[in-house]
Symmetry: C2
Subunit: 343 residues, 2 copies
DNA sequence: TGCAAGCGGGACGTTATTGGTCCAATGTAA
DNA sequence: TTACATTGGACCAATAACGTCCCGCTTGCA
């Protein structure tokens, strides 16, 4: 059955949204015995007109009875609700989870794909696809999109598709180069995204990890300075989330710094910064890319990360509180929910 | 899984239509390796613009690759098609069958619900619902709808719903009263339908089975005459289909006539007439209701009947050739298809 | 190498659909 | 009877869908 839903999701992505809306209307009506349109619209957060279109439809389907006194559920509607009961969890379980997490961290949107990226490459791919969808949704015209590196972002970039070319948009790396494999460099990802969407891109040919002096002198270079300004003006940022220690080592951060971070219980890494479990930044360093103050200013910040092992790190970064959207997977989301419950 | 589809059918009735359209596009593209929009539109009987909207969508979903050379399927699309293969039959098998039957008998539309009305009351209910949908689709303003009697029609009437009241429409019985139970009388059904849809109705208080003399004298009555004229002017006729012998006995047709019909191999009964397997009428009698010549003139004739045992009778009436729509169930449809294959 | 057929995609005007808002008619309960 | 809440109709604005035409590009054939 899951496979059927997966297929339908690909062929009719907003199927579940519509189904859920209608299900909830029906359910609310049943719980209310008899209820009026306005009351119902208010309790479901729908405008009166939209609700009316839906109730007219449900009436036509014979699931709802409407008369001058109000609406109540029909026998067929009651039967349908009963039959849907067992399906509800599998069909909408994730969107409930999405809503809980969205609410808790004050996000604009949360998107959860089924599965666990740690164990299933398929889930990882889905995660990328969901990331694409989230990004597509917020991109407009003339937007600058800054992206970080990492395997998840690389996965996203490799799957990105658009209906029409986005000529007027720019993709830029959020940070400079790291010691990682080429495929996972922010530069590579920005360029892949631009190529796949028909957008433009700029690269930042500067190491991410800089001494203050090197930073100052590099920023004197007009061409470096120029692209850095573009990066810092990004309206949209898409970033991954990593484990603090793993990332620090991969970035060859000084052993002394690593130990300091360990002492401060650094847990998560995102766009080059390290966070403890409360979302406090525990280590800063000068960077030619996006700085914390830029992130705070950015209009849309999208985090994308999945896998049970990353749940804690994701929760930490969410506590930092400057993300607007989270794209994750079921395993990580359950982990996050568990952390929320423990609070 | 079937239950999921059933539920979705109620909450999103045209889900399958859209899914099938997209599936067929994808499939056609795969079979064609590389194909252009216009060619594809022609081979799928879609207008160019509609197809374009769909292919843009499929491209956005990453299922289709489009470049200046044409369209081809992506890996994800190919995977999707493979995954759908087993689902196709359960999801669309009936609509293929619908199309075959529609084509063979030159109908405007065929609607098949899953199951067998002979054995499952649930299927019988579904049949009624499908009949409602078919009827709703063809009803406009100021229409006169003539309905016959029978349990299937009664079932339909009991489930009929409309979004808005159809004040300007009239429901009338197609034929006079029979010896049957009150619930199954055409009069009862016309009145139920009118009440449930907010339409008007007229009754025909005349026995269906009349001697020529009685017929002539009854037709002198102004009020009988008036309603009979309304009936005969019906734009829409909805009728059931029965087994000839069963119906004849139920109607207490003279034993001599029954034997004559048996000799002529009467097989099916519909709107008071008896048909042999070739759709030829084998017995006529004067009636105050709809006559054959009225049926021939009627703009929309809808047949509704299901159950494996009725397959043969349905096929016979379809051969008569004046129906426009058929609403039936899977068991009967398969029986009809088997008869078609034997031809 | 040149040509023509077929391709995607842009553009535009028209039509159909959807959503917001207001109000009249109606039924219900106090 | 009155006051309230209900549905359903009406209307307008915004938007999406659609039909149609054309342009520039690629590609395969001559």
């Amino acid at each position: 059955m899951q496979s059927l839903i997966d297929i339908q999701q690909q062929l009719l992505p907003d199927l579940l949204v519509v189904m859920k809306k209608r299900y909830l209307i029906l359910r609310q009506v049943m719980l209310s015995d008899m209820i009026g349109r306005r009351t119902l619209a208010a309790s479901l957060n729908l405008t009166e007109r939209v609700l009316r279109a839906e109730t007219d439809f449900l009436k036509g389907q014979g699931l709802l009875l409407i008369d001058a006194a109000g609406m109540r559920i029909s026998d067929a509607g009651r039967r349908l609700l009963e039959n849907m009961e067992p399906l509800y969890k599998t069909m909408f379980g994730l969107s409930d989870l999405e809503e809980r997490i969205r609410e808790r961290f004050g996000l604009k949107g949360v998107s959860i794909v089924p599965g666990d990226s740690d164990t299933s490459p398929y889930t990882k791919r889905e995660l990328g696809r969901a990331g694409c969808a989230a990004l597509r949704k917020v991109m407009g015209k003339d937007d600058v999109v800054a992206v970080t590196g990492g395997s998840t972002l690389a996965n996203l970039a490799g799957q990105m598709m658009t209906q029409a070319p986005l000529k007027s948009n720019w993709f830029v790396p959020a940070r400079g180069g790291l010691g990682e494999s080429l495929d996972y460099q922010a530069n590579t990802i920005a360029s892949t995204l631009a190529k796949r969407t028909g957008a433009q891109y700029r690269l930042l040919h500067v190491p991410d990890h800089l001494s203050d002096e090197a930073y100052m002198s590099l920023m004197q270079e007009p061409n470096v300075r120029e692209i850095v300004e573009v990066i810092r003006s990004a309206r949209i940022v898409v970033h991954g989330i990593g484990d603090a220690m793993v990332m620090a080592r991969r970035r060859r951060v000084d052993e002394s710094v690593i130990q300091a971070m360990e002492a401060e219980k650094a847990l998560a890494e995102a766009f080059g910064y390290y966070f403890d479990r409360n979302g406090e930044v525990v280590h800063k360093m000068s960077t030619a890319g996006l700085r914390l103050e830029d992130i705070v200013e950015t209009e849309v910040v999208i985090a994308i990360a999945g896998g049970r092992s990353k749940g804690e790190a994701i929760a930490a970064v969410m506590r930092f509180g400057h993300d607007d959207m989270l794209v994750t997977d079921e395993a990580a989301a359950l982990e996050i929910a568990a952390i929320m419950d423990r609070e």
